[in-house]
Symmetry: C2
Subunit: 345 residues, 2 copies
C-alpha cells in the first residue's frame, strides 16, 4: 500500500520517530535522529525526508521550529508495521499464567477477573465488554427454594458456565410446584439458545398451558433476570492512566464514551474480519473526538466460533503497542479457553 509511496529508508525513519516519541513523549528533531540511531546520512537529508513524511500526513510538528511527532496516520503505519511479531514468548506466557490464575466458573466473576488481569499486566486500563449472548445454549436450570418468596435460580450453559441469581417473588410458591416447574423447563429447553428459551417461556405464559399460576411470575422473572443476558462492561485500572494526561476532563470523557457502550458495540460489530485477532484503534480513527489522545487495543473473545464480546485495554496513543498487542492477544486466547473449558469435564 504505501510501500510504493515511501521507500525503505523513509519507513525506517518514520518508524524511528514514532518509536522515539512513544518512549520520550517529546517531538524529535533531525539531529537526534542522525546521532542517536547511527544513520549514515546527514541531518539535512533527514529534514527533507521528514518534510516529505509530513506532507504525506504521517507526521506533524506543534510549531515551526519544533521536532516531529506522529499523527494518527503515523501511529497507524507504526502499528501495521509491527503486526507480525506480536506474540509473547512461551516463557512470558508461562510466567503470566502462573502469576495470575483465573479459576472461576461464574461468568460475572470470571469476566471481572479478566478485566482486572488486563489492567494488571498492561499497566493501562483493562476492559471486558460482554455483549448480548443470544447464542448461549441451555443445558440445565436449578431452582432452589430459599424461602417462601425467594428462589435461587442457577443456570448452567452448554459451555459449563454458571449464572445464578436470587429471585424475589411477590407471591409464595410451594416447593412442590417449584420442582414441577423446574422439571418442565429442564425437559423442554435443553439444547435451545436463551433467546429461544425466552420465547418459549413467553409462549407458555400467553397460552396458559401451565396449570398453576405461580409459573406466571417466576417465568417472567426468569426471562428477565436469567435468560436475558445483557451487555455488561467491566472496567479496571482507571487510575493507571491518570498519569498520562494533565487534563482530568479528558480522562473523564474517555470513560464516559466507553460507558455509553455505543462505541464499543460499533468496534465489535463493524471492525473485525475473521482472520485477525487483535485490532488497534488509534486516536479518533473512528471519529470519536473524545478518543483523540487515546488508543484501544482489543480482541474479540468467543465461544466456539461465535464472538460474544470484546476485551482489551485503553491507553495513551503513545503506548507500547508491541507489548500490549501481545498481551491482549494472549489474554483473549485465555478467555476463549476459559469459556470452553467447562465442556471438557
Amino acid at each position: 500500500m504505501f510501500s510504493s509511496l515511501i521507500n525503505k529508508r523513509k519507513k525506517r525513519i518514520l518508524h524511528l520517530v514514532v518509536h522515539n516519541y512513544i518512549q520520550t513523549a517529546r517531538p524529535i528533531g533531525s539531529n537526534v535522529i542522525c546521532k542517536n540511531y547511527g544513520l549514515k546520512i546527514s541531518s539535512a537529508t533527514v529534514r527533507n525526508i521528514l518534510a516529505d513524511l509530513e506532507k504525506e500526513g504521517y507526521l506533524t510538528h506543534p510549531y515551526t521550529s519544533a521536532g516531529r511527532l506522529p499523527t494518527d496516520k503515523g501511529y497507524r503505519f507504526y502499528v501495521d508495521s509491527l503486526e507480525e511479531n506480536n506474540q509473547l514468548t512461551v516463557k512470558e506466557e508461562m510466567l503470566l499464567a502462573a502469576r495470575y490464575k483465573i479459576n472461576n466458573y461464574e461468568l460475572k466473576e470470571m469476566l471481572w477477573q479478566l478485566s482486572h488481569l488486563l489492567s494488571l499486566v498492561s499497566h493501562y486500563t483493562g476492559f471486558v465488554f460482554s455483549v448480548s449472548q443470544e447464542k448461549v445454549i441451555f443445558k440445565h436450570l436449578k431452582l432452589i427454594h430459599l424461602s417462601n418468596k425467594k428462589i435461587l435460580a442457577v443456570f448452567i450453559t452448554q459451555a459449563g458456565l454458571i449464572k445464578h441469581k436470587v429471585i424475589c417473588l411477590r407471591s409464595t410458591i410451594t416447593i412442590k410446584n417449584l420442582k414441577r416447574m423446574c422439571n418442565i423447563l429442564n425437559d423442554e429447553m435443553v439444547g435451545f439458545t436463551v433467546k429461544e428459551v425466552r420465547n418459549k417461556i413467553l409462549d407458555k405464559i400467553k397460552k396458559e398451558k401451565i396449570a398453576y399460576k405461580e409459573f406466571l411470575e417466576l417465568g417472567k422473572e426468569l426471562n428477565e433476570q436469567i435468560f436475558k443476558i445483557k451487555e455488561e462492561l467491566y472496567l479496571e485500572g482507571i487510575s493507571n492512566i491518570l498519569s498520562f494526561t494533565n487534563n482530568h476532563q479528558r480522562v473523564e470523557s474517555v470513560f464516559n464514551i466507553l460507558q455509553e457502550r455505543k462505541m464499543l458495540s460499533y468496534l465489535l460489530e463493524e471492525k473485525f474480519d475473521k482472520k485477525e485477532n487483535v485490532k488497534v484503534f488509534i486516536g479518533n480513527e473512528n471519529s470519536y473526538p473524545q478518543m483523540n489522545d487515546w488508543s484501544i487495543v482489543s480482541a474479540v473473545y468467543k465461544t466456539g466460533d461465535y464472538p460474544i464480546g470484546l476485551l482489551g485495554i485503553v491507553g495513551p496513543k503513545r503506548m507500547e503497542y508491541s507489548r500490549i498487542i501481545a498481551e491482549v492477544d494472549y489474554i483473549s486466547r485465555m478467555a476463549n479457553k476459559l469459556l470452553e473449558q467447562g465442556e471438557e469435564e
Copy 2:
C-alpha cells in the same frame, strides 16, 4: 471545650471562613468577611480576630498578604459545630429511596450497589468496607451438584443474606454423598457463627469422624471459600474526585492507602464509640500524610448491634460536610435495614 477559649463572635467568624472556603476554594480576607456577611464590625476588628484564630491554630494563610483558610483544626471545629442538624428531610429521603432502589439479597452485589449509591448521591467517591464477619450466623447450606467435580455451595445466613460460590474439586463426589454431607452440616451447624462452623469442620476433618473421604476436600474448600468471609473493599466513583486536585499522584496515593485497608480497619476499630453514627475524619487527623487534602465521612453498618463494616465517602477536605453527613447517615441506616430485612420475610 473551646467555648471558653473563643467567644460567640469568634465562632461565627471561624464558621464563616470555613464555609466560604468550602464554597470558593479561595482564601478569604477581612474585607470580604465584613462586606459579604453584614457583620457590624470593621475589617480591622475582624483582622484582630483572624489573627487570634490563627494563633490558636484554627486558620492559616499561605503567605503574608493572603486571606485565611482553615487548618484541619478549623475544619474540625466547623464539622463539630454542624453535627446537630445533619439529617435529610423526609422528602429528600423519599426522593432518594425512590430513585435508587437496592433490591438484592446477594451480599456481594448488595455491598457493591451501596458503594455505587454512595458515589452517585455524594458526587464524591463511595466506599463500602466489609470486614471479617466472624459473627455471621449459620442458618442453612445447600450443596448443589453441578457436575462430578463442580459443586455450587449456597450459604444462607441467619439474616437471610445469601452467599454462593462454585467449588471445583479434584476428585469426584457422588450425589448421594453430597446430600449426606449437606444434611450433616445442616443438622449440626445451625445457630453457630461461621467462625465456630469453621472450627467444627476442621475438627471433623482432623478426627476423621466422617466415614467417607470426600468430606476432606469439600470441607476444606467450604471453610476456605464460603465460611471464611474475608474483608472486601468496594470503591466506586473514583473519577468523581479527579477534578479536586491537579496532582494525579496525590489521588493515586489516596486510593493506595484505602486499598491497603489498614487505615480503614483502624478507623473502624478505634474510632467509633457507640452513640454517634456518622464520623468525619479530616485530612491527616489520623496521621496518614497521604490523606492531607482529603476527608472521609463514614458510618459503621451492623447486623443487630454488631458492627460488620464501614461505609462512606472520600472527598476533598473542603467538602459540603452538612449534606454529605446527612447522606452517609441515611445510607448507613439503609444498609442496616437491608442486612436485617431478610429476617422479616
